[in-house]
């Protein structure tokens, strides 16, 4: 809900600004008070809200699965164990279907990516004001901050840093396994001598180089774009709540509808991210 002192564009802007911790112009490390200040911090700054939620969800995922894995038996599984085993089998069969090599890292990697990305996407389904307003109240009363300067985004996958961080991890693994399996020479030869043979070398390098670089970029931007768009639409719908009861209740209906549709998107994007990760790593394992 937009507070009275906020304009619509201010509300949206506030919702889309991260809580950034970095090096201020004054020479000390602090949280940025505005989007402009965050921009001035340059590269060496951290979106604390995004990293925090990302780590929190990863830890939630880890301890939930760990609690099941610790007492996993081959006997009749309970409800939670059943669900997690179903997930594991689903990921395992996806990996078996798309990954032709033999590498014990791929399946756990795919499980991590799938569940983690899904959980990060899932934050989008929480009503957009719940956690930011809680943070604002906390900042106002506990820390004595101006609530307008308390920024708190909750959907990590709607931040390009987070999705690009994941894609970068995948990219490093692609390079590592390419070099490990084919040797540094084999990997470079793949870049230089395909698809037009050795006489088309510069052209080959450009083509293959772009196709290599485009993989992590498309992987991260696809997820980011979908989630950012989803979040923005939720914010736009939330604007209606401050425009009278008629528009407000219409907004409620819209929010329910979009949330239901969004369930499909968050699952699909998590699945796509996992599948592409497996496929890219499979390509890194294959000789061309």
């Amino acid at each position: 809900m937009a507070s009275e002192t906020l304009t619509a564009s201010g509300y949206i802007h506030h919702h889309l600004t991260n809580l950034t911790f970095g090096h201020l112009a004054g020479g000390h490390w602090a949280f940025a008070n505005s989007a402009e200040q965050a921009k001035e911090m340059g590269f060496w700054a951290f979106n604390v809200d995004m990293l925090g939620w990302s780590l929190f969800l990863a830890l939630f995922f880890f301890f939930l699965f760990r609690s099941v894995a610790k007492r996993a038996t081959s006997g009749v599984p309970g409800g939670l164990q059943n669900f997690i085993e179903w997930l594991v089998e689903f990921v395992d069969s996806s990996v078996r279907g798309s990954f032709s090599g033999k590498n014990d890292l791929i399946a756990p990697l795919a499980l991590t990516v799938f569940v983690w990305v899904f959980l990060m996407n899932f934050m989008d389904l929480l009503p957009v004001d719940w956690l930011p307003m809680t943070a604002e109240q906390f900042g106002k009363h506990a820390l004595g901050m101006d609530p307008l300067h308390v920024f708190f985004r909750v959907v990590p996958s709607a931040d390009p840093n987070i999705t690009f961080g994941l894609a970068l991890g995948v990219f490093w693994l692609m390079l590592y396994y390419s070099v490990k399996i084919k040797g540094i020479g084999g990997f470079l030869a793949e870049l230089a001598f395909q698809p037009f043979g050795k006489f088309g070398l510069p052209f080959n390098l450009i083509l293959e180089g772009i196709s290599l670089i485009s993989k992590p970029i498309s992987l991260s931007l696809r997820l980011f774009g979908n989630m950012y768009a989803g979040e923005t639409i939720f914010i736009l719908i939330a604007l209606m709540y401050s425009a009278g009861w008629l528009l407000g209740s219409f907004g409620g209906l819209l929010q329910i509808g979009w949330a239901i549709f969004h369930i499909l998107i968050i699952l699909l994007q998590a699945f796509i991210f996992m599948t592409l990760t497996i496929v890219y790593l499979d390509m890194a394992h294959q000789h061309h």
């Binding site: 889309l16 060496w44 990302s54 995922f61 081959s74 085993e85 594991v88 990697l109």
Partner: protein
């Protein structure tokens, strides 16, 4: 919406969590799944084996029953034969015993007849002697004519 060091933080977290999952989550879950798969496969195989064994046991039981029936029939046949034999033997024994008793009786009878004849003969001799004595009175010396008389007796 700036690109900043958050992405390095996320990359590091990514590797850490992939490693954690690979080390602490994936192996026990997959082990449990594989073990259950094996248990189920073993159970199904055991059920199949049990079914097979049941068929075999039923076959075996039928064979045993058949054999037992055969043996029982054989035993009955042998028993009947033996009974017939025993009856036959008893008949023979009875016949033999009867013959023996008859023979003994005949022998005794003959003995009695002989004895009676002997007695009769002796009595006839003495009667003849008495008669002749009476006829001849003194002229006849019993001792002198005894041999003659004995010859006569023997001729009787």
């Amino acid at each position: 919406m700036n690109i900043n060091a958050t992405l390095f933080g996320q990359s590091i977290a990514f590797f850490v969590f992939v490693w954690l999952v690979m080390k602490y989550i994936w192996p026990p879950l997959i082990a449990a799944l594989d073990e259950r798969k094996k248990t189920i496969a073993d159970g199904l195989a055991a059920a199949e084996r049990g079914k097979h064994q049941q068929v075999l046991a039923e076959q075996h039981a039928a064979e045993e029953l058949h054999a037992a029936k055969g043996r029982a029939a054989e035993i009955i046949a042998r028993a009947e034969k033996r009974a017939a034999e025993i009856i036959d033997e008893a008949k023979h024994a009875a016949h033999a015993e009867g013959d023996r008793v008859k023979a003994a009786a005949n022998a005794e009878l003959e003995q009695e007849v002989n004895r009676a004849r002997e007695q009769l003969r002796a009595q006839v001799v003495s009667l003849a002697v008495v008669g002749a004595g009476k006829v001849l009175k003194r002229e006849i010396d019993t001792k002198a004519h005894d041999d003659l008389l004995k010859d006569l007796v023997a001729q009787l």
